[in-house]
């Protein structure tokens, strides 16, 4: 177990290095001068100032040297300084990460509780009106892009009904609901369908018959024997869907003006504020890889047939 964890953590570092290197290379080949605008508009720019800025941010060095500097600083807990505010990246992104976390956790809870719950009920009441409605709605939802759902929700609840303000305030727990649902709803639909399918399969399993033949009350058969087996794929799915959740956060936060790392990322890309872009990506990859490890550990806990090695 200890060795397994060590190996997984080692793999994490490799993934992190690889992901940031690819990102660095991508940003390097993007045309345009990321710091040029700091020296004034394109016409009035003083080449000496531009050169000075390049020197300051290390942009005059070859890609691999820039990358090496970045990694070296990262190891020492320094994520660099951004181009527009000239403040440490970690300091800028810290509070934004908290805001995004609120959104992401609310979204995952929504996926797990509502998604899995709706799917489980559909499986138990197969071919009922409820099941038909769930199948229909989840089919439609899966085909919707996040931004359409977000704008429809914003229009309905903020503009028409005026239940919430148009610009979200992350410190108000009520206001997390709308963006969280937007972020989660497509995954929740997928989770519902996955849960329904898995549960229908588990309900037919021989060991469920064994439990009934043993005289176990129906409620307990469902809550213990059926549930415990049905949640295994759902837990895995929610774990790996975290990546698309981060992607969705960029869109959702932009629509709801939610001051998180997703919105910071989208703004930074437009401004070629590369330290922020790299910073968000580094954290995103780190969280994603770490969460994958947690899912694997959870998976092994839920299914004793899985061996960690």
């Amino acid at each position: 177990m200890g060795r397994y964890l060590l190996r997984r953590l080692g793999q994490m570092i490799v993934v992190l290095l690889g992901a940031t290197l690819i990102l660095f290379a991508c940003l390097f080949v993007i045309p345009g001068d990321p710091v040029g605008s700091l020296a004034g508009s394109e016409r009035s720019r003083d080449p000496a100032v531009v050169e000075q800025l390049h020197k300051r941010y290390g942009l005059d060095k070859p890609l691999i040297v820039q990358y090496g500097t970045y990694v070296n600083k990262l190891v020492h807990g320094d994520m660099g300084e951004d181009y527009t505010q000239r403040r440490p990246v970690a300091e800028i992104l810290g509070p934004k990460l908290v805001n995004t976390s609120k959104l992401a956790i609310a979204a995952i809870v929504f996926d797990a509780v509502i998604g899995a719950g709706v799917g489980a009920l559909a499986a138990l009441k197969r071919y009922s009106l409820w099941d038909t409605v769930v199948t229909l709605i989840t089919t439609i939802l899966v085909g919707f892009p996040t931004f359409v759902i977000g704008m429809l929700m914003l229009n309905l609840f903020a503009v028409q009904l005026k239940w919430v303000p148009v610009i979200g305030d992350p410190s108000d727990p009520v206001q997390v609901v709308l963006p969280a649902i937007t972020l989660a709803i497509i995954d929740a639909a997928l989770v519902a369908r996955l849960m329904r399918g898995t549960m229908l399969e588990v309900l037919r399993a021989d060991y469920v018959k064994t439990a009934i033949a043993k005289g176990v009350p129906r409620r307990q058969v469902l809550l213990k024997h059926v549930m415990r087996n049905s949640v295994i794929p759902v837990v895995t799915y929610i774990g790996i869907s975290f990546g698309s959740l981060l992607g969705g956060a960029i869109i959702t936060e932009t629509i709801f003006n939610w001051d998180g790392i997703g919105m910071a990322m989208s703004t930074a890309i437009q401004q070629q504020n590369n330290p922020i872009v790299v910073g968000v990506a580094t954290w995103g990859v780190a969280i994603f890889v770490l969460l994958n490890l947690v899912v694997d550990l959870l998976y092994a806990m839920l299914d004793p047939r899985i061996r960690l090695s």
Binding site: D206, V216, L302
Partner: protein, 342 residues
């Protein structure tokens, strides 16, 4: 331990009476069980013999109350346990009988045991559900049970999961689970089919030994004539959802009174036939969606006559050559006399 005084040997513990089960499928109604009657007493072993699709397992599942409904439905008949009809009794009352009075052993222990719970947990569940036992006590009883079915190092293995056991050991765990509350009746649905031949005999012997010890009734569902010969008292042969012949086990082997049984017995490979072609009953069992008119076996029967295609033969008494009744023997063949004596 044994509760033999509760019921006189031979008195019907379980009586299945004209049971009818069908399944609604997309292609029509499959008539899986068409009026099956049998009974089993304390200490008695009834073997129900038949090919897959003959309705032997479906009958057992209907008795146990674990039939998938829908698509299955019971359209007629009674299942009497000590005179009480299980089919009409309230579910809660029936649940208390399941596992405590009537227990079941399944064919494939790997799929019949829950993969995510330890065997100790699953064995102990019987005690927790029926006797309100604590987790700790139920685990202690689980170890005792595992000892009882001779699983080595039971105390160390009680927290292992089903996949960590061999096939034979898993089937022993299934037996232990069925035995937990010393039920009156055990229904064993092909208990040895999924096992290696060497292990089959061990498991069968264990089952027979425990049955004798606790004086339980046993319904042994199988397609394996070899398994039956050693342990059964009486046999019911099923074909296309009906019983076509019943007999005490040795009489059936000595002289079958139904052409289907005769064919089954002839198709057992024998050592003295080495080098010769194996006998097989021609054709295939009928689709339960379209059971042939008259005798369901007529398309495959060597003796089939016009009467067999028109008139359904009922299960009738079988007489010896002097016209005396042979107790326990019945055949659903118009030509039972010719088959038995001819």
């Amino acid at each position: 331990m044994a509760k033999s005084e509760e019921s006189a040997a031979g008195a019907a513990l379980l009586q299945v009476d004209d049971l009818q089960v069908e399944f609604v499928t997309r292609d029509g109604v499959a008539r899986a069980v068409n009026g099956v009657s049998y009974s089993v007493g304390a200490g008695e072993t009834l073997a129900v013999l038949g090919e897959s699709g003959s309705g032997k397992s479906v009958t057992a599942q209907a008795v146990m109350g674990i039939l998938d409904m829908p698509p299955g439905r019971i359209t007629g008949g009674r299942v009497l346990y000590r005179g009480q009809d299980l089919l009409t009794m309230p579910e809660e009352q029936r649940r208390r009988i399941r596992g405590r009075k009537i227990a079941m052993i399944f064919q494939d222990a790997l799929s019949a045991l829950n993969p995510v719970f330890s065997v100790g947990w699953q064995l102990g569940e019987v005690f927790r559900v029926h006797e309100g036992m604590s987790k700790k006590d139920s685990l202690r009883r689980a170890v005792e049970l595992m000892d009882r079915v001779r699983i080595p190092a039971a105390a160390q293995r009680v927290n292992d999961y089903p996949h960590q056991f061999s096939g034979g050991m898993r089937q022993r765990i299934m037996i232990a689970m069925a035995l937990a509350l010393e039920p009156d009746l055990i229904i064993a649905d092909e208990p040895t089919t999924a096992l290696d031949v060497t292990v089959q005999a061990q498991v069968m012997d264990l089952l027979a030994e425990l049955q004798a010890e606790y004086n339980m009734g046993l319904i042994l569902i199988t397609h394996d004539l070899g398994v039956v010969a050693d342990v059964a008292d009486k046999i019911a042969v099923m074909y296309a959802g009906r019983i076509v012949e019943t007999a005490p086990v040795h009489e059936l082997y000595a002289g079958p009174a139904h052409p289907y049984t005769k064919g089954l017995l002839r198709s057992i490979p024998r050592l003295d036939q080495k080098g010769q072609d194996l006998y097989a009953i021609k054709g295939l069992p009928p689709s339960l969606l379209h059971i042939p008119d008259g005798c369901a076996f007529n398309p495959r029967c060597e003796r089939a006559a016009d009467r067999c295609r028109a008139e359904l033969p009922l299960l009738q008494a079988v007489l010896d050559e002097d016209g005396a009744d042979l107790p326990g023997r019945r055949s659903a063949c118009h030509f039972w006399k010719e088959t038995l004596h001819g």
